[in-house]
């Protein structure tokens, strides 16, 4: 056991943690933006809207994140059509490839979470809104969505944690995230135990922050649904 080596390389881990946090936060935000229209399309009565959304969600939930990352990073790098296109500067960077893969992946899962929450909206809330004479659009904006978002919170906190941990695959395409830092330290000093335990502690600390954040959010927005004591 030699944790002194870890202390000397702590800077590498901090840099890695920064990369992980940036990558995960950005893909969560973009994924959420994508997920809402996807969820609405998925529920649409029009098959031209429903089927593309269904296929998208099926493909990205049906394949491992690692495979998606490999296809985007190594796969696209092999296609001349993409290498010649204006998109290449984007796909050239490992960072953007990872961001794209994570965003597309989390969008699929989040869309399903939102769809589930929308579909389980208590019928009474909708009836009350109709009784007030609200239009479809008004009901959707004022009742359905806010209510669904609140109830989606606990499930969404799981997705956030899953993506945080899933982001460990970024190290494979040369990014130095937390896991990437651990791999460098391990390969330099051949100390897998110390190197990866440290990475684990970083992930646990980040997970703790996520849990704490969602607890605050749930207290604020789900308070009214809790049993009164």
């Amino acid at each position: 056991m030699d944790f002194l080596l870890i202390f000397e390389n702590l800077d590498l881990y901090w840099q890695g943690a920064l990369t992980t946090v940036k990558l995960v936060t950005l893909s969560l935000l973009l994924g959420l933006l994508l997920a809402l229209p996807l969820a609405v399309m998925r529920r649409s009565g029009n098959p031209l809207l429903r089927l593309p959304a269904w296929s998208y969600i099926y493909v990205f939930r049906g394949t491992p994140l690692l495979i998606q990352l490999f296809v985007i990073y190594y796969g696209f790098g092999q296609l001349e059509a993409i290498k010649q296109s204006l998109l290449w500067p984007f796909f050239q960077e490992a960072y953007w490839c990872a961001l794209l893969a994570f965003t597309l992946n989390t969008a699929a899962y989040t869309a399903e979470i939102i769809r589930g929450a929308i579909e389980t909206t208590p019928e009474g809330e909708l009836e009350a809104a109709r009784a007030f004479g609200m239009s479809h659009g008004q009901i959707f904006r004022r009742i359905l969505l806010p209510s669904a978002f609140r109830r989606a919170l606990p499930a969404y906190s799981n997705e956030v944690i899953f993506l945080l941990h899933g982001s460990a695959v970024a190290g494979i395409i040369t990014l130095v995230d937390i896991t990437g830092a651990a791999r460098i330290v391990n390969s330099r000093f051949y100390n897998p135990f110390e190197a990866f335990i440290t990475a684990a502690l970083f992930y646990m600390a980040l997970t703790f922050v996520v849990i704490w954040l969602f607890k605050r959010l749930e207290n604020r927005w789900l308070g009214h649904l809790r049993a009164r004591s």
Binding site: G77, Q78, W88, A94, S187
Partner: protein, 257 residues
């Protein structure tokens, strides 16, 4: 209770004696599988290459039953230390740094390393000449340590396997890749589209980073195994088996001077 303890102690002593007198009739060997021409996986899924043939030839010479275990490069030494296998035959250079963790046999070959770039590009290989350039390298390799120490201003991208570094050179994500020369030839130059790339810069054999050649790594304190491997290397050098394997892969003397 005392009796039980005595039995346990006796059993422990017996098994300890057993370990130290291990005759190494069965040896598990860690190999790589993504480092042609030294090791690669054939389309039918089998391991092939110089390292693989050498490992098999040594085992035959030692009359040991060998099991080859494919392992990613950067987990190689940790896997040896945690007894996932007993020896590494994977083009591992004998360096001072690695010697602190593992023992090495005598070398079984020695070659130089060089940079490879896209044709038509010029680079200045002085210490500051590669500042800001992207260098692809296999993580935890001697070349990784060499560029990390000598080109601090360069952006170094580290890959789990050499083949992935070549892929990114082709994709234009890195400007240069450094590897040992036969690996560059087999893994890039002799493949489809390889004529667009060329070896450049000095032949690099710096002892400080590249050590005294490539050897077989084994756990510390296993002198018997080391002795066996050393004798086997000498034997296949003498009886022509080494020459035959070398001729399969190289048109020059890879054992080195």
């Amino acid at each position: 209770m005392k009796k039980l303890l005595a039995v346990i102690t006796a059993a422990a002593a017996f098994s300890a004696a057993n370990v130290s007198a291990k005759e190494w009739n069965e040896i598990r060997i860690g190999v790589e599988g993504a480092y042609p021409p030294y090791s690669w996986i054939t389309p039918s899924g089998e391991l092939a290459g110089f390292d693989i043939d050498i490992a098999n030839a040594l085992c035959e010479e030692m009359q040991a039953k060998c099991k080859l275990v494919a392992q990613d490069w950067d987990g190689m030494i940790p896997a040896l230390m945690t007894r996932k296998f007993d020896a590494i035959v994977a083009s591992m250079s004998i360096t001072e740094e690695r010697k602190q963790k593992v023992d090495f046999t005598d070398k079984y070959y020695q070659v130089a390393s060089r940079f490879v770039v896209k044709k038509g590009q010029d680079f200045d290989f002085s210490a500051a000449g590669l500042d800001g350039k992207k260098i692809g390298v296999q993580r935890a390799s001697t070349q990784d340590k060499y560029v990390t120490a000598n080109f601090p201003g360069a952006e170094i991208k580290r890959y789990g396997a050499q083949d992935d570094a070549f892929l990114d050179l082709k994709a234009g994500r890195v400007d240069l890749v450094i590897s040992n020369i036969p690996a560059v030839k087999k893994g890039l130059l002799e493949k489809d589209g390889g004529d667009r790339y060329q070896l450049v810069g000095p032949m690099i054999t710096d002892r400080e980073w590249f050590g005294e050649g490539v050897g077989i790594a084994i756990r510390k304190n296993s002198p018997t195994l080391r002795e066996k491997f050393n004798n086997a290397i000498q034997a296949i050098r003498a009886n022509g088996v080494y020459q035959r394997i070398q001729d399969k892969y190289f048109d020059f003397d890879i054992y080195g001077g």
